[in-house]
């Protein structure tokens, strides 16, 4: 999913490697030169360069007798958002898993369209109140009596569910007028 992003972040979360990248910003360099400039042993510089290479941040190029390391500007010019953003297929998978979870909760807590009990766990309660909120229209104004009436079709304890609507910010309430603003 984030394989390469993780490699990039891991390889950059090291002071010496950041100093190497900074040196390479001035132009391609070979191991011995970096070793002198950074006061690190050539083997340590090579170690760090291999890690940076593994993340695609640098690449080696043979020039005469030396292997010179270049920065991969294509990766360095990427913005942070493109590195942390998940791919669509992974997002779809996550949505599907969430939908499956919702379906399971609804199946367990509802019977013939009636809520059997109000879940104690907030995570499950959210699924339930969100499901009940589907009986309301977005943006429409409801009096408290109307809200109670609609909720009571699902469960007798309409006070608790109505309060949950407000505390979970699914509805706004002003002068006893309820408006649905969100669905989870």
């Amino acid at each position: 999913m984030f394989d390469n992003s993780i490699k990039i972040f891991k390889s950059l979360s090291d002071n010496s490697r950041l100093r190497i990248v900074n040196n390479l910003l001035n132009g391609p360099m070979y191991v011995e030169l970096l070793s002198e400039r950074l006061n690190l042993s050539p083997s340590t510089v090579s170690f760090h360069l291999k890690k940076l290479e593994g993340a695609g941040l640098v690449f080696p190029k043979k020039e005469q007798y030396y292997v010179v390391y270049h920065l991969n500007e294509e990766i360095l010019n990427k913005n942070l958002l493109s590195l942390v953003k998940i791919k669509d297929e992974e997002r779809e998978k996550q949505d599907r898993r969430q939908e499956e979870y919702r379906g399971k909760i609804i199946k367990n807590f509802f019977e013939y369209g009636k809520l059997k009990s109000i879940p104690v766990q907030r995570k499950k309660r959210l699924v339930i109140i969100s499901e009940i909120s589907k009986a309301f229209e977005f943006g429409k104004e409801y009096t408290e009596k109307e809200v109670n009436l609609i909720i009571s079709k699902f469960h007798g304890d309409f006070c608790t569910i109505r309060r949950e609507f407000i505390s979970e910010k699914l509805f706004t309430r002003e002068n006893n007028i309820y408006i649905k603003v969100k669905e989870l």
Binding site: S13, D14, N15, S16, L40, S43, T44, S46, F47, H48, K50, K51
Partner: protein, 134 residues
Amino acid sequence: MIMNKLKKDYFKIVDLKLDEATKKIEYLITQDRLDEANHEKIRRNVIDIFKKMYDVSLKKVYSYENKSVEDMNLKEFRKTYLEFFDTIPMTWLSSLQKAKENNDHEKIFIEELKIETKDKVKSYFEECWEGLYV
């Protein structure tokens, strides 16, 4: 007397290297140079292993010769101790070989570091040994 001098001289160097490594590890961690700190930990562990093997060798020779430390056959002790520098790195060498076959640069670096450190510790011992006869 000679045995005591050898141990004193050798441990002085080894303890100094262990102390230097510990300080370097602390410094590298404060500098967010964690990989290098880990390399230094590996180096310190290798030094520590061979320090421990010194006393193991002493006990080994002492028990089978059934002599006091001062009467001990120094050359026999040296031979026993140096054998550890060949036997212990055997797994490192095979691990290095595998790492090379698989182009595993990180592993290659670590195994080479262990072997290089082992060679240095061995050279410290040899220096002290030669110092006995100067």
